[in-house]
Amino acid sequence: MEIKKAAQAGTYESNDVYVQLFENPNHTIDIQLTSVVIKQFGEQIHQVIQKTLKQFDITSCIIVVEDKGALDHVLAARIESAILRSLS
């Protein structure tokens, strides 16, 4: 499934994350990640993003994730909301 409609979820508050989804003209998955703890958890956050996109069979999108130290399940929940908003 490809993301067609832009959508977002989350906040810029501490321990939360702001997720934005856009259509990707290249038809691939493009992850743009910034995080206050990128050094410590960059890899782990990437994995959560990929796993959550996979759960929804997303094959094409630009996903912009601005992480302020969210827990994994918060990150997953925010991505999920953004996807559901984009698909609705």
């Binding site: 508050e13 703890v37 410590q40 958890f41 130290g69 827990l71």
Partner: protein, 420 residues
């Protein structure tokens, strides 16, 4: 919706609301207390919030109470970078600074510590970066909550003003209502709400430090009269702040007797000192009764607040163990206070209940409170029952606040008893 999705959705809603409030050249300041729990509202978080706001001399803050705790929002025209710098300095230097989060949001972005070249916040348990501890879940929620509570207790201990303020916040934050005013409801009271309690707390708390100005070498009688004078000044300040509503009269009496007894005789058993000072209360029983307590003491065989004082608060001090156990037993500190409040309701002959509903209802309430004090499932229904009876256990609530003082002012990390 699960509790978490619900929680996240609410957080998002508040954030968008804040963002919509702000126009160019303005920033929104958002204040939140860092207490890890899905139910963040309790006396400790309220105390930290108001203590920080007060220290920062901020006014006109829009305050909301919810499961997210107490949150404040205000709009400022000041330069966002200067603001953030000021708050970060506060967070880094004030003893409670790490317990509060102050966000500065402009129309276009959230100002972070990075924008002012400040290192990331440190965890309040170890010196690691706070975000790293949170994501790694280095410390259990219970450990972090305990560290929060210990920090607040350390801040208040041996300071009469702070301890009394904390005690009053703990009382008014305690939910369910059982007819009282709480942040969520005015209970049976049509003339006040939580903001009445907040202004009352802030108006009377500073006076408690004045107990230390009374000369302990005065005779018992003179000392007692000085305390009584102070109490009258406090009542006046309270009534002025609340527009003539009695919010804390009973608590002022209890706390002054306790602080006074300890200040006059620091090395004597607390109960003996209280008894000694309380002797001069006996004369009140001969006067024309001007309080519900005195009136009912004449009418029925009840134990009014004065009787408790004459016994050196022995029954109240005994209940200290119940609060102590409850704070260990309940995961949510609010539940520890609610359960203790019910215990207080079971043994206090609460004259605020008597005044509204009479002796039979008082006994029914006492009986019921005693049966369900440890049965959390039944609290909500009992609270509704109290409201249906049109009662509000104000006297029992004052005793709960006194127990918090005993716990905070005189205890060391909740284990060692410092008073005799």
């Amino acid at each position: 919706m699960t509790k978490l999705t619900n929680f996240l959705a609410q957080k998002e809603k508040n954030f968008y609301k804040a963002q919509a409030m702000v126009s160019d050249n303005q920033s929104v300041l958002m204040f939140k207390v860092n207490y890890p729990s899905l139910s963040k509202l309790n006396g400790f978080t309220m105390f930290v919030f108001y203590e920080c706001i007060h220290t920062l001399k901020l006014e006109d803050i829009d305050i909301t109470y919810s499961q997210h705790g107490i949150e404040g929002i205000m709009i400022s025209e000041e330069d966002p970078i200067v603001l953030k710098q000021r708050f970060v300095t506060f967070e880094n230097t004030h003893p409670l600074g790490r317990l509060i989060d102050i966000d500065v949001l402009t129309k276009h972005k959230m100002i972070g510590r990075i924008d002012i070249n400040e290192p990331l916040r440190r965890c309040y348990l170890c010196e690691n970066i706070a975000h790293v501890c949170i994501v790694n879940q280095t410390h259990t929620t219970v450990e972090v909550q305990q560290a929060f509570i210990d920090r607040v207790i350390d801040y208040c201990k041996f300071n009469k003003e702070k301890t009394a303020a904390l005690a009053m916040y703990c009382e008014c934050a305690t939910t369910p209502s059982f007819g009282r005013v709480t942040p969520y409801t005015s209970g049976i009271h049509s003339d006040m709400d939580i903001s009445t309690f907040i202004v009352s707390i802030q108006s009377i708390a500073p006076y408690f430090n004045k107990v230390s100005d009374i000369d302990p070498s005065l005779s018992d009688k003179q000392y007692f009269m000085a305390l009584r004078n102070l109490g009258m000044c406090m009542e006046e300040a309270m009534l002025k702040a609340t527009n003539n509503i009695n919010t804390h009269k009973g608590f002022i009496f209890l706390a002054l007797m306790l602080f006074g007894a300890y200040h006059k005789y620091p090395n004597q058993a607390l109960q003996t000192s209280i008894k000694q000072l309380a002797l001069f209360l006996k004369e009140d029983f001969d006067l024309q009764p001007d309080t519900a307590g005195l009136e009912w003491s004449k009418k029925a065989d009840i134990k009014s607040i004065r009787h408790h004082a004459l016994e050196g608060f022995s029954e109240i001090i005994k209940t200290q163990n119940t609060l102590h156990k409850n704070m260990k037993r309940y995961e949510d500190i609010n539940d520890a206070f609610a359960s203790t409040l019910l215990t207080c309701m079971s043994f206090v002959d609460d004259t605020t209940i008597l005044k509204r509903a009479g002796l039979t209802t008082l006994h029914t309430i006492q009986q019921k409170a005693s049966t369900i004090s440890q049965d959390k499932e039944k609290w909500e229904a009992f609270s509704k029952e109290c409201i249906a009876y049109n009662i509000s256990p104000g006297g029992s609530a004052d005793v709960l606040a006194l127990l918090v003082i005993l716990r905070v002012f005189f205890y060391d990390k909740g284990e060692e008893i410092l008073w005799k």
